[in-house]
């Protein structure tokens, strides 16, 4: 047993920290928030250069072949920096789905281009019912000469407006279980019948979209993975996404605590630093406990996923449930302890509060994952 990061991982963290400090200060984040892309081509190219866009892809797919735990290191730093842009959508979702389900040909077609920054992707999973499991998928894909025709509406699709290709989950038959009958399709941007609307939402550094498919025709080669049996790979992609969000939340929450502690040492009231009052000190201690626990569960979940442990799904839901609550509580406490200044647009805390809220509800909030934990425990 050794539950620390390796030297390589610590180096990766240091490099990420330095890069993001230099290239992604909050002034940059704020500028990107104002734009539709939430990211400059230059910055995206730099991410590719760092090797981050293909970090989890196999080497033969143009990636670095690293594991989820390595990505967690990176994501903590990205969370710390509120890094804007479609990294999550492209690497974890669209790229993750292609890596998990794609044929060799499909992987060769897309993954190297994701890794080198020339292609962006996302995953269109959730529908207006706001479920994150197989039962939520009601969009239909019916077989048609030479391919499939997809119809339905997807909601909360991350950065769909930037994606060159969308992986779309649809129902190809009514199976015996909810999982049976789910298939995945590669839908390129601009195809007739596809319309994408950006939905104004809390976190402007990553947009959410409504994606409508009105009789969108795709060829047979658009099928990603096995017909009707798309869920098992997709489920793993969703689990990885949940761990990724947990890691981001850990990084963001740690930054909020750091800012708060720093402020509590400097700011004085009634002649003493506010951090010397137990009302502030004890709250900071509670924040630390929340964060340490969230990290512990997130690291364990990433390790369990990487190792294919039997309890990986349970570990993932435990991490996402705990981190979602922790990050909300920490962000709120951070603002509370900053007082008025923490409520302003000008102060960076708002960036963390908003990202925390977006991550909290994405891919299942704490309540959703607790229910899954109960189901897995009770089985």
């Amino acid at each position: 047993m050794d539950i620390g990061f390796s030297e390589e991982q610590e180096m990766l963290r240091a490099a990420a920290c330095k890069f993001l400090d230099d290239e992604c200060p909050t002034t940059f984040v704020r500028r990107q928030m104002e734009t539709e892309a939430a990211c400059t081509p230059e910055f995206w190219a730099q991410l590719a250069e760092q090797g981050w866009l293909g970090i989890n892809f196999a080497e033969e797919d143009g990636g670095s072949g690293l594991g989820l735990l390595d990505l967690v290191v990176l994501l903590e730093e990205m969370g710390r920096a509120v890094m804007p842009g479609p990294f999550f959508a492209t690497v974890l979702l669209g790229g993750g789905a292609i890596a998990a389900s794609g044929s060799p040909a499909q992987r060769r077609e897309y993954l190297p281009r994701i890794a080198d920054g020339s292609l962006k992707a996302t995953l269109a999973l959730t529908e207006p019912n706001a479920r994150w499991d197989a039962a939520g998928i009601t969009m239909t894909a019916r077989a048609a000469p030479g391919g499939f025709v997809l119809s339905g509406t997807k909601m909360f699709v991350p950065d769909a407006h930037l994606a060159d290709v969308l992986v779309v989950a649809a129902r190809t038959r009514d199976g015996s279980t909810m999982e049976d009958g789910v298939s995945l399709f590669l839908v390129p941007r601009g195809v007739p019948g596809l319309s994408i609307t950006v939905l104004p939402s809390v976190d402007a550094t990553r947009k959410l979209c409504e994606v409508r498919l009105d009789n969108v025709a795709v060829p047979e080669t658009a099928l990603l993975g096995e017909l009707h049996n798309g869920w098992s790979a997709l489920g793993r992609v969703i689990d990885r996404a949940a761990v990724a969000l947990s890691a981001e939340m850990c990084g963001g929450a740690q930054r909020v605590l750091d800012m708060t502690v720093e402020y509590a040492k400097l700011r004085t009231t009634f002649g003493k630093p506010i951090g010397s009052y137990q009302g502030v000190k004890h709250k900071c201690a509670d924040m630390l406990v929340e964060i340490e626990n969230a990290k512990s569960l997130t690291y364990y979940a990433a390790w369990a996923v990487d190792e294919g442990e039997a309890d990986a799904p349970l570990a993932v839901s435990m991490a996402k449930a705990y981190a979602s609550d922790a990050s909300r509580k920490v962000a709120a406490a951070g603002i509370q302890l900053h007082g008025g200044i923490g409520m302003t647009w000008e102060h960076d805390l708002q960036l963390y509060l908003k990202r925390a809220k977006a991550c909290e509800v994405a891919f299942g909030d704490a309540t959703w994952h607790r229910e899954r934990v109960a189901r897995l425990m009770g089985a």
Binding site: P200, D203, G279, Q336, G340, M343, W345
Partner: protein, 396 residues
């Protein structure tokens, strides 16, 4: 003990409710009663000024002020009924609210006859809008450590310094201002209470935008601002005494009463919302949480009424206001948190959808909930006040 209106009070309630029903146009009604901005923009401000004039003409403004100053001399219970009905009708905040609730009572108590005559009528008629210049950067909860200085120059003061969190300063014609006039005196002494024309040269207003994008608060800078001597309220260096009354009124008034309406809407949403295919209401954890919020809302309401009773029996507003402020603002946060549990990702959308047409309002509550536990005295400060002034625990 009697929780119902007496016949006279019921009649008063009925009269005011009927007047509001007839006179309050729909487009004046506020969407979110927790929005405390006197107006989101200049155009709406003008409409609300017109509304206050209409109210005033009908004798419904400043009803608790003595008759000689243009009020009705309404008793405390009538003022409570006024508040409840005004709120219930979703009528907008009166543009002169800080004049009506804070400056007015202070002037009536401490002002000279000349000051009363000069300022009070225009508060009632909405001809002059006031803002409150108390908080300073670096002072925070320790209000009395303020550093904005006023130097005596014979027939006038010269003010230099900075205020912060000044609500509505960008719309205000006048400011009631706390300044230090004796820097050598102990903290609570040496403070004076001045009335400052916002058009005086040297006054600069800079917006403090909130994280939800709302402009409500401001920083106000004073650079060699000349204030005539007759604008001093109360005695020189006794401004802290002058202001304490006002602060009590502010705290007593806090603690949102929009909770019940929000909970009713959440119950409605829980019953319709196709969360996980069955209505959310079918899940016991949703019912448990909504019931708990409803119970806490009722508790807040009843504790408020018990406090009012003490006032009705002639006791002054005391620190029990801190209980309402503390619990009410924390409860607002719990309601907002629950709305996100119920609505999931819909709680993050700043746009109406078919499933949740009022999503933006919920998002605003979700991100803005912290305001209530900070503004007007943080929860930490309220707990200090309760611990020290109610329970008699020693200062830290």
């Amino acid at each position: 003990m009697d929780f119902s209106d007496s016949p006279e009070h019921a009649a008063f309630r009925h009269e005011f409710r009927a007047w509001l029903d007839t006179n309050l146009d729909d487009d004046l009604k506020v969407e979110d009663a927790q929005d405390q901005r006197i107006a989101p923009d200049r155009e709406i401000l003008e409409r609300r000024i017109a509304w206050q004039k209409k109210m005033h003409a009908a004798g419904w403004v400043g009803i608790s002020w003595p008759k000689e100053y243009g009020g009705r001399g309404a008793n405390f219970m009538q003022q409570v009924i006024w508040d409840e009905e005004y709120f219930r009708a979703r009528a907008p905040i009166l543009p002169c609210q800080s004049g009506l609730n804070l400056l007015g009572p202070t002037l009536i108590h401490w002002g000279t006859e000349a000051q009363k005559k000069r300022y009070l009528p225009k508060i009632l008629s909405a001809d002059e809008i006031w803002c409150q210049g108390y908080s300073e950067p670096g002072a925070g909860s320790d209000l009395a450590s303020l550093r904005t200085r006023a130097v005596d120059r014979g027939d006038h003061f010269v003010v230099n310094g900075q205020k912060v969190w000044t609500s509505g300063a960008h719309f205000a014609d006048w400011c009631f201002l706390l300044v230090r006039t004796d820097p050598d005196a102990p903290k609570h002494h040496g403070i004076s209470y001045l009335l400052v024309d916002m058009k005086t040269p040297g006054v600069t207003v800079r917006p403090l935008v909130l994280l939800n994008g709302h402009r409500h608060f401001n920083e106000v800078f004073f650079e060699d601002v000349v204030v005539p001597k007759e604008n001093l309220v109360g005695k020189l260096n006794e401004g802290w005494k002058v202001t304490t009354t006002t602060l009590m009124f502010e705290r007593g008034g806090a603690g949102g009463r929009d909770h019940a309406a929000q909970i009713a809407r959440l119950v409605e949403l829980a019953k319709q919302f196709p969360n996980r295919q069955e209505p959310a209401w079918a899940q016991s954890h949703i019912r448990q949480q909504l019931a708990q919020l409803a119970i806490e809302t009722k508790a807040l309401q009843m504790t408020r009424l018990r406090g009012l009773t003490r006032r009705l029996r002639g006791e002054p507003p005391g620190p029990e206001g801190s209980i309402l402020k503390l619990f009410g603002s924390e409860l607002a946060g719990r309601i907002a948190d629950f709305s996100s549990t119920l609505l999931g990702p819909y709680a993050t959308l700043d746009t109406p959808t078919e499933a949740v047409p009022d999503a933006p309002r919920w998002l605003n509550r979700v991100t803005g909930a912290r305001q209530y536990t900070i503004a007007g005295g943080t929860s930490e400060i309220q707990r200090n006040i309760i611990g020290e002034r109610v329970l008699g625990l020693p200062k830290g």
